[in-house]
């Protein structure tokens, strides 16, 4: 792990890491960079193809701030023994839920009814479409892989489910009868109905997880606040009503930035532990 950096002004621009789960990530960060530059903050961004590489770079000091998935946050905390802190998150990162969907006419009414059934999930490293809902199932006494079969849809593994493709495949498996249930993020449920992947009225919600939080900007806790306070201040000051950043915020999927909170990751921490994801 990197040694504690100089407490004073950084010698180089702040380095922010992001995972390139989609080409739009370049547009977003180039846009943010010029927005920050105009407000007196120089930062550079580094793109990673997967979150494991970004976590390693963040903990190793190659980058100062990591735009982390919830799983990357949990991993950072595990590897650094709790020495990370979160700076900010999107409004859309708070209080998400996952849903376990079943076909409307299926004789399935509770989580325990899923014993012996096939559960379609997203990528194996997706918090929302795999780890958290499967953990809820395990909690109810149905151990994935033992008491029920899990059908993974490993689209872009390493990107922690940021790509919606795995979830879409999961609901398709449900729709065509290859699976008895499918796990999806709440907002993607609506998306799949609207885009026609799921016919309205053909599925119903069997169970909903408790709310949890999603991505955040992660730093090592010994990174001086003077390094990041201006960055955070400008971030939180971004307005959806400002034409200069509106499109970037739309691409990034938020209406405003909020100060980070780290109370919304317990379900994922529990899942990671239960499934020995980082054992």
């Amino acid at each position: 792990m990197a040694s504690a950096p100089n407490e004073k002004v950084p010698l180089r621009p702040l380095r922010v890491g992001a995972v390139a789960y989609d080409p739009k990530v370049v547009t977003i960060w180039e846009g943010f960079r010029s927005y920050f530059q105009k407000r007196g903050i120089e930062f550079d961004f580094v793109l990673y193809s997967n979150y494991d590489a970004q976590v390693e770079a963040n903990l190793g000091g190659e980058i100062d701030v990591a735009s982390n998935s919830p799983l990357a946050w949990v991993k950072s905390q595990i590897v650094s023994h709790g020495r990370c802190r979160a700076l900010a998150m999107r409004d859309a990162d708070r209080d998400l839920t996952s849903r376990i969907l079943v076909r409307k006419d299926a004789d399935l009414n509770s989580l325990t009814d899923l014993g012996g059934k096939t559960i379609a999930v997203g990528a194996s490293d997706s918090p929302q479409a795999t780890l958290i809902p499967l953990s809820m199932l395990a909690e109810a006494g149905i151990l994935p892989g033992k008491d029920c079969q899990v059908l993974y849809h490993d689209v872009m593994v390493g990107k922690h489910g940021d790509h919606v493709g795995g979830e879409r495949e999961a609901v398709r498996a449900l729709a065509v009868g290859k699976a008895d249930a499918a796990c999806v993020l709440d907002s993607n449920h609506a998306l799949f109905i609207n885009e026609g992947t799921l016919d309205p009225g053909t599925t119903r919600v069997l169970a909903i997880t408790a709310p949890y939080d999603h991505c955040n900007f992660t730093v090592l806790d010994h990174l001086p606040e003077t390094w990041t306070s201006h960055f955070v201040e400008i971030l939180l000051g971004m307005s959806f009503q400002d034409p200069e950043v509106r499109i970037l915020m739309e691409l990034e999927g938020l209406k405003r930035w909020l100060p980070a909170r780290t109370t919304g990751y317990q379900q994922l921490e529990k899942a990671v532990k239960r499934f020995e994801f980082y054992a």
């Binding site: 209080d95 959806f240 009503q241 499109i247």
Partner: protein, 391 residues
């Protein structure tokens, strides 16, 4: 201070989010100030969960209401819009993009690189009436021409017609490309200009089709395209300035073509050719009307632009100095057509008529130039400097 108490209400009955409930929610929220509350009632299964997800995505806050089936939404930030004037502005902003004039425009949209975005660069009076006439007078080369009435013509006459159709077609293609090149550069705020030019493009496409069809209909097919004609037309296509291009094309070129088409109609050896020339003449007259209206508009505001227009004609003339004049293919065809055959006596008649055509063209050009405020002397010089290839 916005009123933050709940007053606005919407009853979704049993309508679910995936069944279109957001339509009613958005309509109701439109009446609620930012920070204000909307009370929502509804009985669809899972509505509370679905409303919470919808609100998170839309940037609103959701809370469960006090009663079962009741919910509260606090209106988050809305996207600001700006109103554009329904009247034609002197300058069109790049950020207005493709929004229709007078529409509300969300701020923060992409900027388009329309380079012609001031009224004085593109506008003309009477655009409405020119466009209306264009829309009302569209004809079909297939449907409206009596192709069955095409007689078998003497070989030399048919060959002359085919050669002229070849010449007309290449000119029509050039007259299609010139406005087409500029359309994508004109800010859509000036949509009447864009629409009028688009009609010109359609007209020219139809002319090219019809003239080619005429050459093929007699069985002989197309004639020869001369280097001189191509060189002349290329200078037209390369003109970068909109007003100069419109002047050279619509006023000088298509203006000259009006006389040519009239001549063809009068000397046509068959009803099909006569009708084609007549229809094309009607269309070209509108293009000339647009050209003159645009030039009037520009010259009224910038009278000294006459100098640059004159210079453009002269520059074109110098570039074409090495070109001997109208191609012999076209000249010979005109003479044979106007004389009614290729005997010496017929050629004499034809040549006399073609000389008369040149005089008429020159006369009409001078009249148009004087109509645009050029003095008689300049009009004579500019008309004389106009390309010998007509367009």
């Amino acid at each position: 201070m916005p009123d933050l108490t709940t007053k606005a209400r919407v009853d979704l009955e049993d309508l679910a989010i995936h069944e279109g409930a957001p339509v009613l929610l958005r309509r109701a929220l439109a009446e609620v100030a930012e920070g204000g509350f909307l009370e929502v009632r509804g009985s669809s299964p899972g509505l509370a969960d679905d409303l919470a997800v919808w609100c998170r995505k839309e940037g609103h806050s959701y809370e469960r209401g006090t009663l079962a089936c009741s919910h509260r939404i606090q209106h988050g930030a809305s996207i600001p819009t700006l109103a554009t004037s329904a009247a034609v502005s002197q300058v069109a902003e790049p950020g207005w993009g493709l929004a229709p004039r007078g529409a509300l425009i969300e701020t923060g949209g992409p900027e388009f690189s329309f380079t012609l975005r001031t009224k004085r660069e593109v506008w003309a009076q009477e655009l409405d009436s020119i466009y209306r006439q264009a829309a009302n007078n569209q004809w079909s080369a297939r449907r409206d021409i009596p192709w069955d009435h095409l007689p078998k013509l003497p070989l030399e006459i048919e060959a002359a017609v085919c050669q002229l159709m070849t010449f007309l077609t290449e000119n029509e293609i050039a007259a299609l490309y010139v406005p087409a090149r500029f359309i994508s550069r004109i800010h859509p705020h000036y949509r009447e200009v864009v629409e009028t030019l688009a009609m010109q493009v359609v007209d020219e496409a139809r002319h090219a089709e019809a003239f080619t069809r005429r050459a093929e209909a007699g069985g002989m097919g197309l004639g020869t395209t001369a280097v001189t004609g191509q060189l002349s037309l290329r200078t037209l296509l390369e003109e970068a300035d909109f007003t100069i291009a419109i002047f050279l094309l619509c006023v000088m070129g298509e203006g000259t073509f009006l006389t040519l088409l009239k001549f063809l109609e009068e000397n046509a050896p068959d009803p099909v050719t006569a009708l084609l020339a007549q229809f094309a003449h009607r269309d070209e007259a509108r293009h000339v009307a647009f050209g003159i209206a645009h030039l009037r508009y520009v010259l009224h505001r910038e009278p000294n632009r006459r100098g640059s227009l004159g210079a453009a004609v002269e520059r074109r003339s110098r570039m074409l100095a090495t070109v001997s004049g109208l191609s012999p293919y076209v000249y010979d065809a005109l003479v044979i057509l106007a004389g009614g055959g290729a005997s010496p006596a017929q050629i004499r008649t034809g040549a006399r008529r073609v000389a008369g055509l040149h005089r008429e063209m020159d006369h009409a050009r001078r009249a148009r130039l004087q109509g645009l405020g050029f003095d008689a002397e300049d009009a004579i010089a500019l008309s004389a400097a106009h390309t010998k290839n007509f367009m």
